[in-house]
């Protein structure tokens, strides 16, 4: 786009998946039947006081550390006062002056660092449902813990915005602090977009309630275009809040920003200061081993092809499982193919999850070893996999029970191959003329004759030996 520079800052809210709400002991589950997970605290009844869920603090520390933030050791909560039907107390308990984490960053693949200005804890509001000119309120969500993660205005393209959000989401998923489902509202992003020809930032427009990272990228593009059109026609921009209509591919005005929106913040007098100790931080830091980017490096170094590395990272169950074998001689390339290929197909077919397989590590390794050493072919794998995954039988036992004979009598093999060479004159000639395909063809013909009862490696070696003699 032209000579305007886009600047984007993003505020992300994620619902933490702690067992309980942040200021009451009620269970935290926004999928429960409407208004069943509610007590007097969640409803803001007169006389109630907030208690504080320690796990929320721990999740906040963990996330702060993963985002390279400084943890605030002496912190308090603040009240943000405003009236809205979904806000039962008439104020939200949040952190204005002492956010739990400050000054962090996320590194993009280009190496560029996107600053994290701050990360703070707050409570979610009730959920409004508008229907037939009426508003219904679901208080299951009231008091669900939120982390708000505020980036610096360091993002300069829709691609960077998308990558920032993907990286953030991936990190939060790996930390297991949130399930980050944008479509269900457990991850929400407000995006501030401005354009400018100079180093000074332009007029800031906030885009709210966008349903996916993909749409956020489109919205940034469309909003920047809109701003550019106004500016190049000598128009002026006013601070606004807008939403994005994905079907029309345009941003739509929600409201103009009022000057001096006054939330009358003050320190929450019902909650004492929270003091976080160095020991607490160090204990939590120990849980930070192997974040996604570190895993990527390990997988690449172990020979997994880049496209499979990304697929494994996307599937945390697989990634966690593979990490059991980092200090072994497991063939990661074969292992990743096995997980992403035949095992995934099996799971899809059976409609079960990987964890429900509870696949024994020894058994997994011996299967990978057999594939890696070419003791069994991928064709045989398909025949035995289901039995292997559902019984405790060894590979050999299963082969035997299925009547598959992994023949190791090489003289039998040689006899068969000799006949194949006689029967396929032309291919043998092509092979000697340097056609690699002909070799593959001869392997295929041999396998057909042997009904795959010899290991692929044995077929390959013997064929080569006899051809080259």
């Amino acid at each position: 786009m032209s000579n305007y520079k886009i600047t984007v800052g993003i505020e992300v809210h994620v619902e933490l998946k702690t067992r309980n709400k942040v200021f009451s002991e009620v269970l935290n589950d926004t999928t429960a039947p409407v208004n069943t997970l509610v007590n007097e605290i969640d409803l803001g009844y007169p006389g109630t006081l907030p208690s504080l869920n320690e796990n929320v603090i721990n999740y906040g520390i963990l996330t702060s550390l993963a985002l390279n933030c400084t943890v605030t050791k002496h912190m308090h909560f603040d009240r943000k006062n405003y009236f809205y039907p979904d806000l039962p107390k008439g104020y939200q308990i949040t952190q204005l002056n002492t956010p739990i984490g400050t000054n962090g960053y996320i590194t993009l693949n280009s190496g560029k660092k996107i600053g994290i200005r701050e990360l703070h804890i707050e409570e979610d509001t009730a959920k409004s449902l508008h229907q037939d000119n009426k508003t219904f309120l679901n208080f299951n969500r009231a008091g669900v813990p939120l982390l708000e993660i505020v980036s610096s205005p360091d993002i300069n393209s829709k691609e960077e915005a998308g990558e920032y959000l993907e990286k953030l989401k991936e990190l939060l998923l790996y930390l297991e602090v949130s399930d980050c489902k944008m479509e269900e509202g457990s991850m929400r992003a407000d995006v501030n977009v401005s354009i400018s020809k100079t180093n000074d930032l332009g007029c800031r427009i906030e885009l709210k309630n966008i349903g996916s990272i993909h749409e956020i990228k489109d919205a940034i593009e469309q909003e920047a275009l809109r701003q550019e059109q106004i500016l190049s026609n000598n128009g002026t921009l006013k601070e606004q809040t807008r939403k994005y209509d994905a079907s029309k591919k345009e941003t739509i005005l929600l409201r103009n920003k009022e000057v001096g929106n006054d939330y009358r913040y003050f320190k929450e007098p019902d909650l004492p200061y929270v003091d976080i100790t160095d020991e607490q931080i160090e204990t939590i830091r120990k849980k930070l081993v192997l974040l996604p980017d570190e895993r990527r490096k390990i997988y690449l170094s172990k020979g997994i092809i880049p496209i499979n590395v990304e697929k494994i990272i996307k599937n945390k169950e697989y990634s966690d499982y593979l990490n059991n074998f980092i200090d072994t001689d497991l063939d990661f390339k074969v292992a990743s193919n096995l997980l992403l290929g035949d095992i995934s197909s099996y799971l899809n077919k059976e409609l079960i999850s990987f964890s429900s397989l509870s696949l024994d590590k020894e058994r997994f390794k011996s299967l990978v070893d057999s594939l890696s050493s070419k003791k069994i072919s991928s064709k045989i794998l398909k025949e035995i996999l289901s039995s292997y995954l559902t019984t405790t039988d060894s590979i050999d036992t299963i082969l035997k029970s299925k009547g598959i004979n992994l023949n190791d009598n090489l003289s039998d093999l040689e006899a068969i191959i000799k006949q194949v060479i006689i029967d396929n004159n032309e291919a043998v000639l092509d092979y000697h003329n340097g056609k690699e395909k002909a070799f593959q063809y001869l392997i295929g013909m041999t396998m057909k004759q042997t009904k795959s009862s010899f290991s692929p490696q044995a077929v390959k070696d013997t064929l080569k030996k006899l051809l080259d003699n």
Partner: protein
């Protein structure tokens, strides 16, 4: 009619224990007293059926050694009682029946006490003469033309009239001590953090405390022991460190007592000062060392209080929006109009005045100029008190600047109720415990009280000195 409620707690307990009387006898006597004294307007809601049922139920429970077993008690109407209407004396909560019990109420129920009803008060505890109540003022038990004091006017007056002789009040700037002084009863504002605030309808969260109002010092200590258990629902609460024990042989010659110069200032009624000076002479004659000291910032405490209490109140009362409970307007155009109309119609004038001031004080730059500055001075004031308690065991002074005044007087002066509290507010600002002890009567037979203040969590000390003076003055429980 029987007069069991005029007996001491020990005497009643013995009668209950040897089955001479049953809890229902106390309950019936209490309700007939309430009926007889209806025009004092002590109660907003009576809990007659439930109280009678509880009394009957207790007939099947063996009487324990707990002196509070089967004893009637009444509760200020800003303390939440499950299934029993709780209005905070506001039209805003005229129909509010809570779904849970305040922690102190739970504790009273555990002691098998019988809740008689909910006591009148200033609306949301905002006032010091009980005249801001939506349900009308409480009258002074010694003179029906005069105010009871407030905001715990109903709590103090009911105890003075023995209907029943134990109650709970709340104190944000003097709301237990001042009406206790006006009604001639013993009222304790405990250390901030001693009694759980869970279920106390908040006025100013950093100042509010629940406390007992009783006929005698010993009964007061007993009731405070019962309600100061640790509560995990209130993170600002620590609970009691140990049981309060009163000894009848206190060594006065070792006591060092400070009287702030401010507590002897010329705004204070001469009769009150004279009575207080008699106490001072008595203590000196018994060997106490008494010094007049200077405590900085005391003269600023009303301004600080207005900023902090009203700022917090403006936020605490934001939840009364008519959406989930309480009063809702029926005429409105949109959601903002609904809020405006509900709150305009639901709150009384004093509450609205305070909410507007509080909102203004927290708005924009004002938060820094007023609220945060007030917190700093508050901190300095706490240090001042701390220093005094380095050298002294107690601080004493009069509780009020005036004797009870006529109903309707000063109603047009919004500052009056704050000025009433200049001697009680500093204690809340510093989070200290303080007790009002009746010390005699004016020439017109109006009650006069003094405050005994100690360091944080030193309620025990206060009760021991108060008990000594009560015995010496021989006034305990004698106000008819």
């Amino acid at each position: 009619m029987s007069n069991y409620l005029d007996l001491s707690l020990e005497e009643i307990h013995t009668l209950l224990k040897n089955k001479t009387i049953k809890p229902i006898d106390l309950v019936n006597e209490c309700f007939s007293k309430i009926e007889k004294n209806k025009d004092y307007n002590c109660y907003i809601t009576l809990n007659k059926e439930q109280a009678e049922a509880k009394a009957k139920e207790l007939e099947n429970v063996p009487v324990s050694d707990d002196l509070l077993f089967g004893i009637p008690i009444a509760i200020k109407d800003n303390i939440i009682t499950k299934d029993l209407k709780t209005t905070a004396a506001s039209h805003m909560l005229y129909n509010f029946v809570p779904i849970y019990d305040a922690y102190v109420v739970k504790l009273l129920k555990q002691h098998n006490m019988i809740i008689i009803g909910k006591l009148n008060m200033d609306e949301f505890a905002m006032g010091s003469s009980n005249q801001t109540s939506y349900y009308g003022p409480v009258k002074n038990p010694l003179n029906k033309d005069l105010v009871s004091g407030g905001s715990s006017g109903g709590s103090a007056c009911a105890v003075a009239l023995g209907m029943p002789f134990l109650s709970l009040g709340t104190d944000t700037g003097g709301s237990i001590r001042q009406p206790s002084s006006f009604c001639g009863v013993v009222g304790m504002k405990p250390t901030y953090g001693l009694v759980s605030r869970y279920g106390l309808i908040a006025f100013a969260s950093s100042l509010d405390q629940i406390g007992p109002i009783t006929r005698t010092v010993k009964e007061n200590a007993l009731l405070l022991n019962a309600i100061s258990e640790k509560d995990s629902n209130d993170l600002t609460q620590e609970g009691k460190k140990e049981e309060i024990k009163i000894t009848d042989d206190i060594d006065l010659s070792k006591l060092k007592i400070a009287i702030p110069k401010f507590y002897l200032n010329d705004k204070i009624d001469k009769e009150i000062l004279n009575k207080f000076n008699e106490i001072k002479s008595l203590l000196t004659s018994k060997g106490c060392q008494i010094d007049v000291v200077d405590i900085k910032y005391l003269e600023n405490s009303v301004s600080l209080y207005q900023i902090i209490a009203l700022g917090e109140a403006s936020s605490n009362l934001a939840r009364y929006d008519g959406i989930r409970y309480g009063y809702s307007t029926t005429k409105f155009t949109d959601i903002n109009d609904f809020y405006k109309a509900t709150r305009s119609e639901g709150f009384g004038p004093e509450v609205k005045r305070r909410l507007m001031i509080g909102s203004y004080l927290l708005s924009g730059a004002n938060a820094k100029v007023y609220y945060e500055k007030a917190l700093k001075i508050r901190h300095a004031m706490i240090e001042e008190f701390h220093n005094v308690f380095h050298a002294y065991d107690y601080i004493i002074g009069p509780t009020t600047t005036t004797l009870p005044y006529p109903l309707g007087a000063n109603n047009d002066d919004p500052n009056k109720s704050f000025i009433d509290d200049i001697l009680t507010i500093p204690v809340n600002m510093a989070g200290l415990p303080a007790l009002n002890l009746p010390i005699g009567y004016s020439k017109d037979n109006l009650a006069i009280g003094m405050q005994i203040i100690a360091n944080r969590f030193e309620e025990n000390k206060i009760y021991n000195l108060a008990n000594y003076l009560e015995q010496a003055l021989n006034l305990g429980g004698k106000h008819e």
